[in-house]
Symmetry: C3
Subunit: 168 residues, 3 copies
C-alpha cells in the first residue's frame, strides 16, 4: 500500500509548494496530475505560473474528471501530486457527474495503488456564510470531500503562510 | 466543576461529528442542546441530517435563546453538546437581546455546573472582508464570543477536515 | 539580529491581543507601528478601540506606507509591534506602489535591525472564492506576502479563538 498525504489550506497558503516538496521527497520522476482546465485567462495564468515554478522534474497529466484513471495509469512509475481536489469536485459537479460515487470509488481504490499520492485541497468554509445558495452547496460538498479524503490518507497537513502544520 | 470543551472550525469541517464523539465519551445519556431553528427548508434539512446521524443515544433540547436555562435544566443528568454558539449569537442579535450580557452570564455560571459541556462554534473570520456592514458586525461579534468561550473552557480544538487539532 | 515573530489569524481571532502580550514580553517601552488610516467612521472606531485596550505602556507611530522607515527610526529603542501587514499591503496597492519591491526591501533589512519586531497579519484565503476580481487579486497578494514574511521570521503563530498555535 502506497503512502498517501493530504495538504489543505486557504488560497495562497503555500499548499502547492509544500505538496511539491513532499512529492519529490517520495521519489522521482514525479507526476503532476492537474485537475485545472484553462477556462479563462486568469486560470490560464495561474496554471502557467504553477508549471513554471515546478520546473523540469515533473511529468504533467491532465485529469479534470477521470482522476482514478490517471492514478492507475501512472501507478508504479513514481509519486503523484493531485492538484487539486476542490477543482476536481467543481469539474464533476459542473459536468453533472455523481461526485460522491466518483470520490468513493477513488478512495476505495487507494489502498491497492503502489505509488505514493499527495493530494492538495482547499479550505473554503472559514469565511462568512455565502449569500449565494450554490456557493453554500459547493462549500458543503468541498468540506465533506475533505473529510472523506482526510479519513482515508496516512497524513494530513494544514498549510499556514507556506508552513505545514501536521494534523494527522 | 464540570469539564468544558470548545470545538471550532469552518463550515463542514467535521466540528459536530468530533463534538458528538467527545460528548459521548464523557457519559451517557447525552443531551443535544440545539440552538438552530428551522426557519427555512435548507435549515430544516440540515437539522434533520444532523439528527439522523446522531441516532438514539441522544436526548434533544431546543434552546435558540435561553441556553443557560437549558444547561441548568439538564445539569446532573449527563454531558451536554451545545450546537452551536454561532447560531445562538445570531438568534440573540436577531431578537434584539444583549448578547454580551447573555454570554457573560452563561460563562459566569459554567464553573457551578456539575455535568460536562461541549460547545461547537464556527470560524467565520478567515475569508475576505465582507462588503456587507451587517456581515462585518456579525463576524466581529462571533470572533469575540469565541475568544470569551475559549478563555473560559478547559480545552479548545480546531476541526480540520474532520480531524481535531488541540489548541488548548 | 533581533527576534522576529509573525502572528496570523482571521478577523477577531485575537491576533492583536496575542501580539501585544508577546511584544511587551520582549521589552519596554514598546512601539506600536500602526498601518491603519482612519478613512471612515468604522475604521476610526476600530483604531480607537485598539488604542484604548493597549493602555499607556505603548508609544504609537503611524506608518501607512513607509514601514521600513518606521522600523529604522524606532530601532534600538524597544520592541515593535506592526499591526498589520494586510493593511500595509492594501495601502501600498491603493497608492500604486510596487508592494513586492517594498516588501522585499523590508524583509532584506530585517536581519540588520537590533530590536525585536512582532508582525500581525490576516488569514483572508479560507472562504469561498470571491466573485470580485480585485478581491481575488488582493487575496493572492496577501497570501504571498504572508508566505514571504513567515519564511523570514523566527516564529509564526496562528491565532485561534484568542489562543496562539505555534506553526514555526
Amino acid at each position: 500500500m502506497s503512502k498517501t498525504i493530504l495538504i489543505t489550506g486557504g488560497a495562497r497558503s503555500g499548499k502547492s509548494g509544500i505538496a511539491e516538496t513532499m512529492t519529490l521527497g517520495l521519489g522521482r520522476p514525479a507526476f503532476y496530475i492537474a485537475t485545472a482546465e484553462p477556462h479563462d485567462d486568469e486560470m490560464a495564468a495561474r496554471i502557467a505560473a504553477h508549471r513554471a515554478r515546478r520546473g523540469t522534474e515533473w511529468q504533467t497529466c491532465a485529469a479534470p474528471l477521470d482522476l482514478l484513471s490517471a492514478l492507475r495509469q501512472t501507478d508504479g512509475a513514481g509519486p503523484r501530486l493531485v492538484d487539486c481536489l476542490t477543482l476536481w469536485l467543481s469539474n464533476l459537479m459542473f459536468a453533472g457527474r455523481d461526485w460522491q460515487a466518483e470520490a468513493r470509488a477513488m478512495l476505495d481504490a487507494l489502498p491497492r495503488l503502489t505509488s505514493p499520492v499527495v493530494f492538495v485541497t482547499n479550505e473554503v468554509g472559514s469565511g462568512i456564510v455565502p449569500e449565494n445558495a450554490l456557493a453554500r452547496e459547493f462549500r458543503d460538498a468541498a468540506g465533506l470531500l475533505n473529510q472523506w479524503v482526510a479519513a482515508a490518507v496516512d497524513e494530513v497537513h494544514l498549510a499556514i503562510c507556506g508552513l505545514p502544520l501536521k494534523v494527522k
